[in-house]
């Protein structure tokens, strides 16, 4: 077993998990944070995207042991229902999510992008979302939503 102490969404958390446990499984099974999804388990789909120390990570590709002492942000830490992050608000208005399964990953990728680059071009946005697959909505409405936020913010 591996002991892991880390910060998740601003809270100190500890877990003891088998060494092969991925960050994704630890979040979902040990901490009951099911916002990050398992879509492929091999780094292809981005449904498991979280932010570790400010970096976008496919949590299915990172071992739980690797996040010891680090800071993890999951979709659950981004906002609450009555205090939405602007991305969540605009995604809702624009209908950027249908089944929603890709949503937590896409929204975290968008957040990461806007943190780095407050005024991204469409190619910048495409690039940032290149690791997130969506099978229902497609990317047009997501790109529109991210552009809208950037515009609103820079005004």
């Amino acid at each position: 077993m591996v002991r892991v102490s880390l910060t998740v969404n601003g809270e100190k958390r500890d877990a003891e998990v088998p060494p092969e446990t991925t960050l994704l499984r630890m979040l979902r099974e040990a901490f009951n944070l099911t916002g990050a999804k398992l879509g492929c388990d091999v780094g292809d789909c981005g449904a498991c995207t979280v932010i570790v120390d400010g970096k976008l990570v496919n949590s299915c590709l990172m071992l739980a042991g690797q996040v010891d002492g680090r800071d993890v942000l999951t979709i659950e830490g981004l906002a609450t229902a009555d205090n939405l992050h602007p991305i969540q608000k605009v995604f809702e208005e624009k209908g950027s999510l249908q089944c929603g399964f890709c949503g937590p990953g896409v929204i975290l990728s968008a957040k990461w992008l806007l943190d780095q680059n407050p005024d991204p071009s469409v190619p910048d946005i495409r690039d940032a979302l290149s690791g997130n697959l969506c099978r229902c909505t497609g990317y047009t409405k997501m790109i529109e939503a991210i552009q809208t936020i950037a515009r609103e913010r820079t005004v």
Binding site: P18, E20, R28, E29, N32, L33, T34, G35, A36, K37, L38, G39, C40, D41, V42, D44, C45, A47, T74, I75, E76, L78, A79, T80, A81, D82, L84, I87, Q88, K89, F91, E92, E93, G95, L97, Q98, C99, G100, F101, C102, G103, P104, I107, L133, C134, R135, C136
Partner: protein
């Protein structure tokens, strides 16, 4: 169910949702109107938001794999890995002896080992015979998913392999061994006849022949298939599942488990993409049996590879077109033969076959038509429902054919279509009179909007803006 997270945002989100979707009562009496064929619905042009958008954005929507029930076991299914074989020996003893493994079952443990939305030709777990490489041959329930996966490696199965039937055109031949012998390989057929094609071809200025093929396509829903089974103290089974057609699924589960439908409750929550691929049962009877055997809740979630080889796919179709036209490009006669690769099991093949056959003439007025479709078994991943049920495949066929003919005749491809499209009152391939037909208007509107160059007639290409 332990599903809420510590922050309590789910409760907040639900309250918010309620507030948002609350609308004032509709005053009675409600005005009842008869059908008004050409009236546009007021919904067009309205902007609306999805009621579930809030929880989606917050990551609080719960899909099946997000559920955990105390005491729950994880199931994994061993796949055959051979396309056609007889199972000669099954040894699960080593897997059963592994610490953490609670139960192992094989095909012989399934009370009624066959199901399907139309033909009941699909086993829950292969027993004696394997029909495609994705067939499940054994299932394990263990305390962790990892242990269940490790246990699959310890299950030893011996096969006597046979030459698989992989080519649908081979399968069509009488001398080809039956995939499900003694049943024939052709398990569905449809024939549509209209007018007199011999006469139509005889009067044609030119006759074009072409063959088209489409490939197998997987739905790839972002959420893999998942289900969770629990028996209660009174012998009733509750299954949470990603299943889209729960009533049909319930009948199949009742059949395979040999219990009345009234003892089965299926709960389908939000689905992370279906596209037709979640329209029939997959793991439900397996986890039902494992849960019964262990007396504990059991969950099974497909791996991504399983989505590709153990769930349904879109039918590949081999399409042979023969079309007779006048000098001006008016179609006088058409003959089509479709061969659908059904894979190992029927699933929704009959629906797909029917739709493909009815639609393979395209949205064109064709007085003399023969369309014939066959669906055959092969030792491949089964095909089933997928968006459009055969319509996209034949659309690729008849539109490609149309482009080729337009080019050869020196007619603009849009013009060629406008000369043939269905009109108000036209008869469909099955001789149904059609109403509210706006193919021509739609084509012209589309051509205008994306800047199709009608001037460039005969070039066979559009002007890009």
């Amino acid at each position: 169910m332990e599903t809420t997270t510590k922050t309590g945002t789910l409760v907040e989100a639900e309250e918010l949702l309620r507030a948002r979707t609350h609308s004032p009562l509709v005053p009675l009496p409600i005005e009842v109107r008869g059908p008004e064929p050409n009236r546009q619905t007021p919904a067009v042009g309205q902007r609306t938001t999805r009621p579930d958008a809030r929880t989606h954005g917050l990551g609080q929507t719960k899909y099946i794999d997000d559920f955990y029930v105390p005491g729950m076991l994880y199931a994994k299914i061993k796949r055959a890995g051979v396309a056609s074989a007889r199972i000669t020996k099954v040894d699960t003893s080593e897997a059963e002896a592994m610490p953490g493994v609670v139960a192992v079952i094989t095909g012989k443990d399934i009370p009624v080992n066959s199901f399907g939305p139309s033909l009941k030709d699909q086993p829950v777990l292969a027993h004696e015979r394997v029909f495609h490489a994705g067939d499940g041959v054994a299932a394990v329930a263990a305390v962790t998913e990892q242990i269940a996966a490790d246990a699959l490696e310890k299950i030893k199965i011996e096969y006597e392999e046979f030459a698989p039937v992989l080519d649908p055109l081979e399968s069509l031949k009488l001398e080809t061994p039956g995939v499900h012998a003694p049943s024939a390989n052709i398990y569905g057929h449809k024939l549509i006849k209209k007018g007199d094609i011999e006469k139509g071809f005889a009067e044609s200025y030119r006759i074009f022949e072409a063959s088209f093929r489409t490939q197998m396509v997987e739905h790839v829903p972002l959420e893999p298939h998942s289900s969770l089974a629990q028996w209660d103290a009174n012998g009733r089974l509750t299954i949470h599942s990603t299943l889209g057609r729960i009533t049909l699924g319930r009948a199949d589960i009742a059949r395979t488990l040999g219990i009345p439908m009234s003892r089965i409750r299926i709960i389908a929550t939000v689905v992370g993409g279906n596209f037709g691929g979640k329209n029939e049962i997959t793991t439900e009877p397996v986890i039902g049996m494992l849960a019964k055997k262990t007396g504990r809740p059991v969950k099974c979630t497909f791996t991504r590879p399983e989505e590709f080889y153990a769930s349904t796919t879109r039918h590949p179709i081999i399409m042979d077109y023969k079309t007779g036209v006048t000098k001006e490009g008016k179609i006088l006669a058409r003959k089509v033969r479709l061969v659908l690769d059904g894979g190992a099991y029927c699933s929704w093949s009959e629906t797909t076959l029917g739709k493909a056959c009815i639609l393979c003439a395209g949205p064109y007025e064709i007085e003399n038509l023969v369309a014939e479709a066959f669906v055959v078994y092969t030792n491949k991943t089964m095909t089933g429902a997928m968006r459009g049920f055969g319509a996209p495949q034949v659309c690729f066929g008849y539109e490609s054919h149309m482009d080729d003919m337009a080019k050869a005749l020196g007619i603009d491809p849009l013009e060629m279509r406008l000369r043939n499209v269905l009109k108000e009152g036209s008869l469909s391939p099955t001789s149904q009179a059609l109403h509210s037909v706006v193919v021509k208007e739609s084509l012209l509107q589309a051509a205008k909007r994306f800047g199709w160059n009608v001037q460039g007639a005969g070039q066979g290409q559009g002007a890009l803006p």
